[in-house]
């Protein structure tokens, strides 16, 4: 604490200014989206009065709505599979560190986090085509291939999230349970899983968001008839600024803010309960 004092004397006004500037940089674009989503005019240039007109038009946009529905389905399925696989991978990385495959798994999990999406998309497309050629599966590209592609990079993120929680978890909890006679599978479901549950939720939400947000990989691996929300947004945005997209952005931001607030509140409550118990 006193060290902070020292710093406040040395360079804190300066630092706080930098921080404030950074937040303005991060949030100004988002605020501008929200403000102009309520603009009457089609042009961003002029403020023509308050209106919710674009929200109404958005609700009429069949193409966009069906793409959104597809994206939600894909994201939900992909996130769920990614959580299962990511948890297994995290178990390997934390608990079976010396097992064969753990090292290579570490690299294979780290790489998708930074791998340019465009390489991921292209390589998966080539894989799907060759597989269709060789074994006749997947016969066509679409929802299924998008899900498989999304699981691949989402599980890497889930693994990282779960891994850090597992690493913090006291391994002696599991040992104590085994000592009391529980079989490993039972230990996993009765001890490990409840403890790491918050990280599974966080991982699922992260995976869901990433999947909902993906344009590049989906563009490569989707087929005719499977158009996700980002693909629709992208083709509309390419043509220039569109107030409907502003309205869509505002809805997404609202959903995220509500979700984060709820999650934050739940975590806060859980934390408080935990400290109260001690």
């Amino acid at each position: 604490m006193s060290a902070i004092k020292q710093h406040r004397r040395a360079g804190f006004p300066w630092l706080w200014t930098a921080l404030a500037f950074g937040y303005v940089f991060l949030y100004a674009p988002i605020l501008s989206l929200i403000v102009y989503s309520f603009n009457e005019s089609r042009l961003v240039t002029v403020w023509a009065g308050f209106s919710t007109r674009w929200y109404g038009e958005l609700m009429q946009n069949e193409q966009l709505l069906s793409a959104a529905w597809l994206s939600i389905k894909v994201a939900a399925v992909a996130a769920t599979i990614a959580v299962v696989l990511g948890t297994l991978a995290a178990m390997t990385l934390v608990r079976f560190r010396r097992q064969w495959g753990a090292r290579s798994m570490g690299i294979m999990v780290a790489a998708p986090l930074v791998m340019p999406e465009i390489i991921l998309g292209l390589s998966l497309l080539l894989l799907f085509m060759s597989m269709a050629d060789l074994i006749g599966w997947p016969a066509s590209r679409g929802q299924g291939t998008i899900i498989m592609a999304h699981v691949t990079f989402c599980m890497a993120y889930v693994t990282v999230v779960v891994q850090s929680r597992l690493a913090y978890m006291d391994a002696s909890l599991e040992e104590a349970a085994m000592d009391l006679g529980a079989r490993p599978l039972k230990v996993f479901f009765t001890i490990t899983l409840p403890v790491i549950a918050p990280s599974l939720v966080a991982g699922w939400l992260l995976a869901f968001t990433l999947s909902m947000d993906d344009l590049v990989v989906a563009s490569f691996v989707s087929g005719p008839g499977a158009t996700t929300l980002p693909m629709v947004v992208y083709s509309s945005v390419r043509l220039g600024v569109s107030p409907q997209i502003n309205a869509l952005a505002t809805i997404i931001i609202a959903v995220v803010v509500v979700a984060v607030s709820v999650a934050g509140y739940l975590m806060y409550r859980q934390d408080k309960q935990r400290t109260n118990m001690q």
């Binding site: 006193s2 060290a3 004092k5 020292q6 004397r9």
Partner: protein, 370 residues
Amino acid sequence: MNNVVANAEQEPLVRIRNLSKVFGSTYAVDNISLDIEEKGFFSLLGSSGCGKTTLLRMLAGFETPTEGRIFIDGKDVTDLPPYERQVNMMFQSYALFPHMTVADNIAYGLKQERMARPGRDERVREMLSLVQIEKLGHRKPHQLSGGQRQRVALARALAKLPKILLLDEPLGALDRKLREQTQFELVNLQERLGITFIVVTHDQEEAMTMSSRIALMREGRIEQVDSPQRMYEFPQSRYAANFIGNVNLFDGVVTSQSGDQVLVDSEEAGGQLCVRHSQPMTVGMPITVAVRPEKIRMVQAGDDLPNQMQGVIREIAYLGDESIYHVELASGKRVKYTQPNVQALAELPLTWGQTIALGWHADRCGLLAQ
């Protein structure tokens, strides 16, 4: 004229005047005035949370005093940042720079004052041998044991040969054996280098062993400043008497004073107590008589001890070199009395339940205000 000269001669190395530090609403340091002489081993002693660290950090410049001034060598340093004070600190956690070798850690302060390379290397070597870790210069802090780290921290703080070395619980992290050995090394170092050491400790034994002067602190204030001997023999308050060593306290009332003899009537003691005391006292004043357990002895036939009382042994604490006996008087008051274990274990003469007579001389006890 005469006055000025006398003042200049007496100017202490550190002069603290009306120093206070407030955190929120708590006074960590509360209006302290204190002089610290040059070339001594000065200890700040007190229980946990009494403001020792805060006082030390204000001397180093890490905390700005809420009120008061600090003078070092006659110069007001209150507003100087730490890097402009000729004071160095050895941190309780050692605070070694983890990314630098031991030698680089020690050289760090010298680099800041732009000492040239040859002299710097020479000084680092001297410091390493001073704290007896010549061979460890190339290691990183995490490759050292706790005791070795403590030595590096000491060497680093000494390297600039500061006027004053501040040490915050320097031996806190060491085990008992190593701590006792290091206490003597620290004292030797201080005498050899002639640097003033100001040490924070909550261990009264440590303060007694090392210091030339001790300042006893209590709740942000100074209780007493004295040499270890005077602090032990002539504590000026119940708190001081209790904090350092063991003491028996008898509450009573002054009944008469003749010459340097004061008579105190104490119900707890079951009668009159006689204390040698030269300051004039008012009759009827409530007072406390303090006597250390080792000043008490068993009354032999023919003894004419002025203070005598009888009691029953209720507890015996065997410490090896000596035993502490808790003796219950008729008033219910328990008196602690220690006796060195000169005899063999089986021959120790005293047992539980035994009634014994205790006594002490008038000049072996003191008076404390209530």
